[in-house]
């Protein structure tokens, strides 16, 4: 278990822990050493009702989980070890008001299984009694904004397009009084959210929604991991507590179904690397847990599960709220947001949003200038830009391209991840599967529709090659050349049966009419090329090396003399005797630090003496340059033929003695019928 961490919360003790962890994390929400602060703002006094203790516990638990999620790293990409450290084992010891309730197997199972699926980590909880109770007022900041005491729904509000769509659906279309629970992650975003809400109030008139904002401040050292997969657990916990205060037993997340199911857009996105924030399985888990807490049915639902983002944007526009779209914030790179460019245009959310806006015909309400990189004609280079923008957009579009051509069977045979939702959505799994497919096909058609329209619109610029080479339209526009898996840089194709030819930086090789393969640039390949170009000619290893060398001055030949002089060798030997004496002393004193240091020195000096001494203790000479070059050429040829053996064993065999001779004068002596095109 490589990536595990102990998280001790509040003032709990550190006795009888399940494993040793020198980097254990201490999180405190209260007291002089508090490093986590949760504030629920804009609460109206009239809202404040008695909150069951288990809900207060839930807020504490969710806050600690959320902070630990960001404090414990997942070990980066972890490509070489198949994400070994991505999944963490987190042990929490948390003080709660109702420890017996939280220790109940049914409650603990629901908590652990929901969190595990959400963030793909392993959770272990140890609940201790809270010694000093904290009332909910400690979290709250009150406002005097009028409140008529009517709240029909609590809706989570991220400030993005989907949640704006949800607010429009509830307050403008359905004319319901709602509370929007919003996370204020930064002052920059808060200002945009406030402006968006004021516009929404203007549209909803007497049904204007009320906002309850949540702010979490934590110590700087608690920000090691960006993924934040447990964020929706914290929101749901806060939303459910507010709903409970208001006497409601339902909580709504509004998120389009494609993002909610979040199928991997690229094969490198495995498991929860595609977020599961509002995945049906997660929302079901929240519902079950909250039902246990409330002692009655409590539902967490996503009314937009069967809508695409384009359909959500269309809904906003049709409700007469199109002008609000540009103030919704989707971009994940909040640090890049400026007044001029509130959207980076390259992150997955910006790409998704822009496609939806264009597909829904709402471009006038979300001007392209607000995007730092234009979706269709903006330059996207991977190099030097965060998050591989070209990889992101090509993965997004290629997924849509693929799905658009699929039938339902092909879809589920291609996206195994979709099967995870089948049993967590009400209804027959076969019918659910059809709905999931239909949703994704609609989305795919909307995406490719945008591309088709853009190509038509930009056809003249495409033909004239006026668009940036790395923009999306240039990448999708097929010039009519047949797609090929052979290099396109050099159209010249060798025609002979035996080819060893340089093509740009690489070598194209073919033997006895077999398939082409390439060799990457190497000295060995260059030497082989020299030999194959002049069969039956004994070349000089020195000339070959000289011909290939970048720095030809290195090849002034001579002897380097003795490796080490006698005086130095004697000094080494004397030092060795001294060190052995010191080692004995360190052994006697049981001084491990000194022992280790001395041993290292002894090994180093012994190695020097061994290298410098020949037979009978005579000093060795550094081999002269001729010998060094002969060996280097021979080794390079050997490495090249070994590489060739990976792809064509017959050629590797052909390039062995007696046909290929190494030494001071390497030579290629082919059979009569082997003619090389070089």
């Amino acid at each position: 278990m490589a990536n595990e961490r102990l998280i001790l919360c509040g003032s709990v003790g550190n006795g009888s822990l399940p494993f040793k962890d020198e980097r254990s994390l201490r999180l405190r929400m209260w007291g002089p050493h508090a490093n986590v602060h949760l504030t629920i703002q804009d609460v109206r006094e009239a809202m404040l009702k008695q909150v069951p203790a288990v809900f207060l516990d839930l807020i504490d638990i969710a806050t600690y989980v959320y902070c630990a999620d960001q404090a414990v790293t997942r070990g980066g990409d972890g490509v070489s070890n198949f994400g070994e450290n991505w999944r963490r084992n987190l042990f929490f010891r948390i003080p709660v008001r109702k420890p017996n309730f939280w220790k109940k197997a049914s409650v603990l199972d629901q908590l652990v299984s929901t969190l595990s699926f959400l963030s793909e980590d392993e959770y272990n909880f140890d609940f201790e009694p809270l010694t000093k109770d904290t009332s909910i007022e400690r979290y709250l900041e009150f406002t005097q904004t009028p409140y008529d005491g009517i709240a029909e729904e609590v809706v989570m509000f991220s400030g993005g397009i989907d949640s704006l769509g949800g607010a429009v659906q509830e307050a403008v279309i359905n004319k319901r009084k709602i509370i929007l629970v919003n996370h204020q992650s930064s002052p920059k975003l808060s200002r945009r959210h406030d402006h968006l809400l004021s516009l929404l109030e203007g549209q909803a008139k007497e049904y204007r929604p009320l906002q309850v904002a949540v702010r979490i401040n934590k110590a700087k050292n608690l920000g090691a991991e960006y993924t934040q997969r447990t964020r929706s657990f914290l929101y749901a916990s806060l939303g459910a507590t507010i709903a409970t205060m208001l006497g409601l037993s339902r909580l709504r997340f509004y998120e389009n179904g494609v993002v909610s199911l979040n199928l991997p857009p690229s094969p490198q996105v495995v498991g929860a690397r595609a977020t599961r924030t509002t995945h049906p399985q997660v929302l079901n888990g929240f519902s079950q847990l909250l039902t246990s807490l409330a002692g009655k049915t409590f539902t967490v639902e996503n009314p937009f599960l069967w809508k695409t983002k384009t359909e959500v944007v269309r809904l906003i526009g049709d409700a007469g709220c199109g002008k609000l779209i540009k103030f919704a914030t989707s971009c994940t790179r909040t640090w890049e947001i400026t007044k001029q460019h509130p959207h980076c245009g390259t992150c997955s959310q910006c790409i998704d949003r822009r496609f939806a806006v264009l597909a829904a015909g709402q471009e006038a309400n979300d001007p392209g200038e607000a995007y730092k990189v234009d979706l269709l004609v903006g330059e996207r280079k991977n190099e030097g830009q965060v998050g591989d923008p070209q990889t992101m957009i090509t993965a997004y579009l290629e997924t849509a391209n693929e799905i658009e051509k699929m039938d339902a069977l092909q879809f589920f045979s291609r996206f195994g991840e979709a099967s995870r939702a089948l049993r967590h959505i009400d209804g027959n799994p076969e019918a659910t599967a059809m709905q999931i497919f239909d949703l994704h096909r609609r989305h795919a058609k909307q995406v490719v529709g945008v591309i088709d329209q853009a190509i038509a619109k930009q056809r003249s610029a495409i033909r004239k090659r006026e668009l940036p080479a790395t923009c999306l339209l240039r990448l999708v526009y097929d010039s009519g050349l047949s797609a090929s898996t052979v290099p396109l840089k050099d159209p010249e194709v060798p025609i002979g049966d035996n080819v060893f030819r340089k093509k740009g930086q690489i070598w194209t090789v073919r033997f006895a009419g077999g398939a082409d393969f390439i060799l990457l640039p190497s000295k060995g390949a260059a030497y082989l090329h020299q030999l194959l170009s002049q069969p039956h000619v004994h070349l000089s290893a020195i000339d070959m090396a000289y011909g290939v060398a970048k720095n030809r001055d290195r090849y002034s030949l001579g002897s380097a003399g003795e490796k080490s002089d006698r005086e130095a060798l004697a000094a080494y030997r004397a030092k060795l005797i001294e060190l052995r004496a010191e080692q004995e002393e360190a052994n006697a004193n049981n001084d491990h630090g000194a022992q280790e240091k001395i041993q290292e020195e002894i090994e180093s000096i012994t190695q020097e003496i061994r290298e410098a001494s020949g037979l009978g203790g005579r000093l060795c000479k550094v081999s002269d340059d001729r010998e060094r070059v002969r060996k280097a050429v021979g080794m390079a040829l050997k490495r090249a033929t070994k590489e060739i053996a990976l792809y064509d064993q017959r050629l590797a065999h052909h390039l062995s003695p007696p046909r290929l001779i190494c030494g001071q004068n390497p030579c290629y002596v082919p059979d009569k019928d082997v003619q090389w095109e070089t």
């Binding site: 278990m1 595990e4 990409d77 490509v79 070489s80 999944r87 595990s116 793909e120 991220s158 998120e255 690229s266 094969p267 490198q268 996105v269 495995v270 690397r273 924030t277 509002t278 992150c347 959310q349 991977n382 998050g387 591989d388 070209q390 990889t391 090509t394 290629e398 339902a408 069977l409 589920f412 291609r414 195994g416 991840e417 099967s419 995870r420 089948l422 049993r423 027959n428 799994p429 076969e430 599967a433 080479a469 790395t470 240039r474 990448l475 999708v476 526009y477 797609a483 898996t485 052979v486 290099p487 396109l488 690489i506 073919r510 006895a512 077999g514 393969f517 390439i518 990976l646 792809y647």
Partner: protein
């Protein structure tokens, strides 16, 4: 929400070679060979991976369950929470949920296991879906019949081949998807997205071709082991089978690059 980040390949010597081959225009066989060589240590762990073993173990149980008198009951005995007359998608969803619950995160769950689990869901849909023509409007009896046919030597071979081909292809693309789009655009290896997609498709075909080696022995192994154990193939049996299968597959992928050069 819906936040996804994509990354690049590590800059180690082996992965730099893979990138160099893609950039230089190497064919799928050669790129596959280099990828397999770079990822060989990681792939070698598949036979010990609890998620991979649990997935394959469940796959071997399904055809046998379908041959019992009460299909649903037998599936429940394997741990699948299904109704009395399960359809294909219910079974596929249950297989996924069962593996999720049996292999907790950080207690054996890895990206390899995750890819095997997804490959299993896709193989089941493809193989059974094709046999029942669709998964809509087919009766639970059709589904059971299609599953039971997989218990024959020949059908199990095809089933295993499909699974291992998908699994290998997923592993390859897990790495290569980090590199391919870096060589997209004018003057690059792939001028257009469709060329990149064609390369990806060719890689899938290459993996399917390589997985024919699995077809040669898996059906025979399944029938023999099933007979020897009285239908109680263990996870240890699966670990041995997987170890052998992965070894053969890796060799085949390497050999594939050589034979292309012949």
């Amino acid at each position: 929400m819906g936040h996804i980040r994509l990354g690049a390949l590590p800059r180690t010597r082996k992965w730099t070679k893979v990138v160099g081959l893609i950039e230089g225009g190497a064919g799928t066989a050669q790129v596959a060979n280099a990828t397999i060589s770079a990822a060989e240590t990681g792939l070698g762990l598949a036979a010990k991976d609890k998620g991979v073993i649990e997935t394959i173990w469940l796959l071997t149980k399904l055809p046998l369950a379908a041959r019992s008198e009460n299909f649903a009951e037998s599936l429940r005995d394997c741990g699948l929470a299904v109704a009395d007359s399960p359809g294909l998608m219910e079974i596929v969803g249950s297989v996924s949920d069962t593996i999720d619950s049996r292999i907790p995160n950080c207690k054996g769950r890895t990206d390899l296991g995750e890819m095997a689990q997804m490959a299993a869901a896709e193989t089941l849909t493809e193989v059974i879906g094709q046999r029942t023509k669709s998964f809509f409007g087919t009766t639970p009896d059709d589904v059971q019949r299609a599953f039971s046919k997989l218990a024959t030597n020949k059908q199990f071979s095809a089933f295993a081949k499909d699974f291992f081909a998908r699994f290998t292809n997923k592993c390859m693309n897990y790495f290569l998807s980090r590199a391919l789009s870096h060589h997209l655009g004018e003057g690059q290896r792939f001028t257009t997205l469709s060329q990149q997609a064609e390369f990806t498709r060719a890689l899938g075909t290459h993996c399917r071709e390589a997985a024919r080696i699995i077809e040669e022995f898996s059906g025979g192994w399944f029938s023999k082991r099933n007979w020897e154990t009285g239908g109680a193939i263990t996870r240890e049996d699966i670990a041995e089978f997987t170890s052998y299968a992965m070894r053969k597959l890796v060799d085949e992928l390497k050999q594939g690059a050589r034979s292309d050069g012949q």
